[in-house]
Symmetry: C2
DNA sequence: CCAAAAGTGTTGCCTCTACACCCATGC
DNA sequence: GCATGGGTGTAGAGGCAACACTTTTGG
């Protein structure tokens, strides 16, 4: 009950999602799946196990800044989307000392994902085929996946996996990869168009073996209204 | 970057909602509104201002347990519903030292709400007519209100404001108070019945000036599937 | 009987889904 | 021409809002 500092360690961790082909050396165009990078622990507890990237919060940075910093330090990633997930603080979640983790979840584009410096201690894993992770990180990833899938259905976060311009087929394949089921191209098109979330450009993609698809851009005016009043915090 | 303890104070706070008549001494049956109890700060910073109930986390209790304990200590309330809201950790949210607050939000029944020991330092406030609160607590309440209203539309949390048995009119008045708009009794009945969330009992309420309404009970089998995989944590 | 709230029926609108069909390009 | 994915049209099912209507009580 000290008024100046606590005996509880405060950390941030981040679940970063990217879309990658499920079979990297196999077929020419396999359906993409959800992957995430993990880092190997180089100290006890859980030495050698894979864990979410993260670290301690420095006293003069916000929680979100801490998430971005530790993410860059461990994986060199700069996410296009970053949102708080949950604060995990059960008493026994770390074997050696009491630890409270503020967990964020993030999305990165495939080209950004390539910048991850792979090595002995950083690797990509398919989100639905993880080993036993350190601490309660399996539970955390499950929750983050649930949030990703839930939010993909009612919100417009799919563009965070893509570049500034994209075809409707690309956007649809993002949804299909996350939701793990095929979507009707015709209905998907109408839903996206009527939502006002995307804006057609006057450019098309040539070079395919078929009719050239139109390129779209995200409509930044119609911003997602699904974070509630917390978006106001950015302006203050 | 110490590995044992941080210079960051860790606290929990809770936004507790209850339904109360908006005009307490006025008309015979005014439409109820959303109220919350606040405590007056008895030390700096923000001495004298109203603030959310809360306190420090003890090293051997979970975050949720800390929320329940501090809530009981300051207001004697034991909520029927308690869920984590958000972790607030901006650098400048407390003027004297760095503080990270894990905020919960809770619902209590009106009869429970009466147990609050009112006095100089604890008072109920209408949620849409608050004074300037300590720290960033106005923002926090706004966010909690948004979550309450959003969740009321897709989830079944309204019963947390009621006792074990209730009429459809009572359940509807809870929705109307939270959503601040009238609902069609006929359509509301069908939505609730078809959702399977409520079970009719064989009891009715007599004594009114009209046809006696049937009493309903909540169906605990169909539990809310809207918290995701985190509900599994309770069993572990 | 009358007032008032409980409870039921019905209609029309809107959205989503499934699927048929046309369009534009490379080969 | 033909294969392929881009893009449009459309009929049926289901959900929801609005509102008319019947039922059951107290006075």
């Amino acid at each position: 009950m000290s008024a100046t500092a606590s005996d509880i360690a405060l950390a941030v961790s981040t679940v970063i999602f990217a879309l990658r082909p499920d079979d990297q050396g196999g077929d020419e165009s396999p359906a993409p799946g959800v992957w995430l990078p993990l880092v190997r622990r180089i100290r006890e507890p859980h030495l050698g196990r894979w864990a979410l990237p993260g670290g301690s919060v420095v006293v003069d940075e916000s929680l979100e800044a801490a998430a971005r910093r530790t993410l860059a330090e461990t994986t060199q990633l700069e996410p296009t989307y970053l949102e708080q997930l949950y604060a995990f603080g059960d008493v026994d979640r770390s074997p050696d000392r009491r630890m409270v983790s503020i967990v964020y979840w993030a999305l990165v584009r495939p080209d950004e994902a390539e910048k991850v410096s792979l090595g002995e201690n950083v690797r990509w894993f398919a989100a639905d085929d993880l080993p036993e992770l350190a601490f309660d990180h399996n539970l955390i990833v499950d929750y983050a996946l649930w949030r990703l899938r839930t939010k993909m259905e009612y919100s417009r976060i799919a563009h965070a996996f893509l570049g500034p311009m994209f075809t409707l087929a690309e956007l649809r394949s993002v949804h299909e990869a996350v939701l793990q089921r095929p979507l009707d191209p015709a209905n998907f098109r109408r839903q996206m168009e009527s939502s006002g979330a995307i804006v057609p450009t006057d450019q098309v993609v040539t070079g395919g073996r078929h009719r050239p698809p139109r390129l779209y851009r995200y409509n930044s005016d119609i911003e997602l209204v699904d974070v509630g009043p917390l978006t106001l915090r950015r302006s203050s």
